[in-house]
Assembly symmetry: C2
Amino acid sequence: MEQNADITAAVLVIGDEILSGRTQDQNSTYIARYLAEIGVDLREVRVVPDIEAEIVAALDALRRRYTYVFTTGGIGPTHDDITADAVAKAFGVAIGEDERALAMLLERIPLEQLNPARRRMARIPAGATLIENAISKAPGFMIGNVVVMAGVPVIMQAMLDAAAVHIVKGAKVMVATIDAHDIPEGRYAADLEAIAKAHEKVTVGSYPSFSSAGVRNQIVLRSRDANELEKATQEARALIARLHGERTLI
Amino acid sequence: MEQNADITAAVLVIGDEILSGRTQDQNSTYIARYLAEIGVDLREVRVVPDIEAEIVAALDALRRRYTYVFTTGGIGPTHDDITADAVAKAFGVAIGEDERALAMLLERIPLEQLNPARRRMARIPAGATLIENAISKAPGFMIGNVVVMAGVPVIMQAMLDAAAVHIVKGAKVMVATIDAHDIPEGRYAADLEAIAKAHEKVTVGSYPSFSSAGVRNQIVLRSRDANELEKATQEARALIARLHGERTLI
């Protein structure tokens, strides 16, 4: 099967609670890993507050630039949930109560409890495809290249599964990780750069971590070309084995 | 003491490893909480890849818009560490080896081990103020309204402490949190909106969380006006107490 090489995406996290530090965003990491699995390159993440003009501006910048935009947050029943209206405004389409969405809400909420606040969750921009969620029933939606999901992680994850059927998959990036032990980055940086330059189809990163046990570095190589990845990985492994051996001898 | 009311900030996270999902960004939440403590409003977070043009474009957009920009990542010794050069380009200033930064590196690394890769960590844009870090010695820096920090959390945190002396503090936003128990958002949404509308100086948010124990909602009120915050909080508390009482009676 022919696969699309360059499917890109951005995540737009909508929520004051992330910017205030109250809540740690877990959704963008989850989406990043999910997209990596289906060969979609996540190129940007933005977090913006619950302000319509900010959401519209970010949506417009991102949807024009990337194949897909995945938004999280702001589709509940309270007054601070304004994502659906912002998306309608960004696309210049009408928004109103959607019969299909209303039917989904009624699966969970008896009609006599379906007050105006809850009915707001059935407001969907015209022309959107609904994204089901088995957990709370209130749907997300997809319009154009924008997938609109809830902010509660367990619901977002269910919606992402449901949305994935509408997403064009790319060729998966293959990854090799090399443990560089406690060898300082400064000792292998020049040789690693030479390896990266010799294999243009491979992205090479070096990632230090510090803990009470000391420094620990990892080299991560990524590519869609298996041969090039294998060559670069062998060279990097040999580099680290040599430096590690030198340290052991000291 | 007179305090500045409207000090704003953005965080720019630089790193392929975040976008690929390999690493969960912890720095932006840490910075968000830190800024909240010193009365600086975090208005936006962006995550961009290790690509110079992307870093420059994001820096330019953010530094013109907010009082401060805090960047994390990309200032180590390896070839994928390109933040300092991107910042120099964004500001249109020269970049070269900084004697002060070199002296800091020499506190940790003997001169004979200070190879070209390690010396790269002394490359600082002209006119920048250095930001010390007691952990690995390699400094961050501040130029104009941009604070450039490491990506490793423990080092970033040390740099943020060191940078804070250069940051103008604002009036701290006061926060009140109300446990809404398992009362569905849809039951209190209309009344909560009325409270939010009656207190324009108070930002009112409702945040659901789902766990195996069921749904749990919190109402969060924020304001720099203590009186208004107190009034709105009392009204919201009364609302929740009434609904909670009704449930208990059933």
